[in-house]
Symmetry: C2
Subunit: 361 residues, 2 copies
């Protein structure tokens, strides 16, 4: 989808909300609407009108924005973005000016309200651009697939280095290095490696703990490539697995495969989440699956939609979501298996190719 | 300075502003007041009262906060931080509740105002914690010195790899790798390497441009170690330098040495900045020095004070600042030389030890 199309769709959303202008300050939203890849929060603001569109930026970025951005007029802001915004808004007809209420700070809003002196009506908005971002076009899906593929390769590189005694942090760093040295502009998030009881904590951060033979381990990582994120989790034991691990591993894998077979456009997030949750609950581990089945992924590693117990939105073709059931037992450990998939009309298409092995080495 | 002392000083600031409570949501401010090192913006909020103090956090962090934080009561927030905050505020006497106006979003403020229903008066504040952070204690200065030392070593490692043809991005990545593999938890900012005309852009981001012999180059990098930041810039040519480079290099170095000889407690930021600016202006390059002489450095790589043309604050002993004059000529290139120094009563103590060489190789 071209930038022009994205702006046109945004203007439809704006019209539904009775907005004449929208101020876009959230970095990923700016990237999405402009195509300018820099995510520095201070790199610029967009002002989108019913017909006009402006990219306000400072001396650090103005040349690159001018060279790279089509469909928006580039404004050099001196000295501050807010100065350029107020000047621009002084030249256009009075109207309803939406802003991103979950991103603009109290102080930015206060300054803007004071300087506009009622000339425009400031209207808090939430999720106008995010609603567009959650449905991906084919170029975006290709970009996500490439990020997922690099993530898979980084994981397989790490698997090749695994041996008892290597620490969580060493593995995490090897994954990041591989990604960075194979094209990623960075990691989508710090790779997390959890071994033994650490793996019972769904959001564990890698530590200096060495990985031991036969204990539950998971690796959760994602590359960022051409702006888009990958996300992958695999669980395993080194060398040997006891019956408990194998039971839980098989259960989580079954829950994932059932969900991947059942997810499709037309389900709500709640219905999608339930596909895996029912499998896990039926086995008596319902209380041990404390997080959502999935989250949208794109320019951000966590974005709409939510495939969760509270996700009321209906899945539509072109959404991209993680599918990641997990079971966590405090003091023992946990198992999570995560793929990334594209929602299609009759089902989903799983992008992730990394092998699923309960025992490595 | 212990956490208890920091909280006591903050309470003095709060009293001056007539505040009964302060809500701290800014991540570095939270790290400073709690000692809990995680900077994840969502890891928690602090509520500081005249006698009480609370660290609100969620299930992901609560065990680590309980284990690591002294002097604050730890509250497990379920489901959201704002829920725990509203509950806490419902149990304490009505009062004036300060919040960080440059960090809290419009929506967070709106929700809080609505849920507090006038029970407490919400008061916007700016810089209460930042004012404390700008004067460092001896432990903080030691931590900054260690980050500066690691930054120096990473730079010298990169110098050892320099040869014509190596790209800006390759050098930047080698610096980051060295830092990460020698103890840094990360970079204070993406290392910037600028060669040829790119070096005329003070905020240049590294590209795939190969570094050529005899052209102006600068490297700007900083490690983050134990929470504190280093910051270093060096300029040079590979192999040979022409007369123009040598003239500008010598001028910038002279400006830096004059500033380092003259900076001391008691000067304003403007007076400090002028020390270097006058040297550069006297040589006819005043218009080519477009940024400030220095910025404070600590938990953040850019913080108070500002040693700049608008920095009205008086420097006091214990502040830590960069000293970084620069001259930039569009189309040709630029020279910047940056050290980090501690402000003392009679002068400054430069922490940076990286060699200053106008020609390398």
């Amino acid at each position: 989808m071209s930038i022009v199309t994205r702006l046109a769709r945004l203007r439809e959303n704006m019209a539904e909300h009775g907005l004449d202008y929208l101020l876009v300050t959230q970095p990923e939203n700016r990237v999405y609407l402009s195509g300018f890849p820099d995510r520095d929060p201070s790199a610029g603001w967009l002002l989108v009108g019913v017909q006009s569109g402006f990219f306000l930026t400072d001396f650090r970025y103005v040349e690159a924005v001018r060279a790279g951005v089509r469909g928006l007029d580039v404004v050099l802001a001196t000295p501050r973005l807010s100065d350029a915004l107020v000047a621009l808004l002084g030249q256009v007809p009075a109207g309803r000016l939406g802003f991103e209420a979950s991103h603009l700070t109290f102080e930015q809003h206060r300054e803007l309200a004071e300087r506009l002196q009622g000339q425009h009506e400031l209207v808090p908005t939430t999720g106008l651009v995010e609603a567009l971002r959650q449905v991906k076009d084919s170029d975006e899906i290709a970009a996500i697939a490439a990020a997922v593929e690099l993530t898979d390769r980084a994981y397989e590189h790490a698997v090749g280095l695994l041996r008892p005694g290597i620490t969580e942090k060493q593995v995490a760093w090897e994954i990041e290095k591989y990604m960075r040295e194979h094209g990623a502009e960075g990691v989508a998030f710090e790779p997390a490696v959890a071994a033994g009881p650490n793996s019972a904590v769904p959001h564990h951060s890698s530590t200096d703990r060495p990985i031991g033979e036969g204990e539950p381990v998971w690796i959760d990582c994602g590359a960022r490539l051409n702006g888009y994120c990958g996300d992958l989790t695999r669980s395993f034991c080194l060398g040997r697995a006891d019956a408990r691990f194998q039971e839980i591993y098989d259960l989580v894998l079954k829950a994932q495969l059932v969900a991947e077979a059942g997810l499709r456009a037309g389900l709500t997030g709640v219905e999608g989440d339930a596909l895996a949750r029912e499998v896990i609950a039926a086995a008596g581990y319902g209380e041990s699956f404390g997080h959502s089945l999935g989250h949208g992924i794109g320019l951000a590693v966590h974005e709409a939609p939510r495939v969760s117990r509270t996700g009321t939105e209906v899945l539509v073709a072109g959404m991209v979501t993680s599918v990641e059931p997990g079971v966590y037992i405090p003091g023992w450990g946990g198992v999570r298996i995560e793929d990334v998939a594209v929602v299609e009309e009759g089902g989903i298409r799983v992008l992730t190719r990394a092998p699923k092995q309960s025992i490595i080495g």
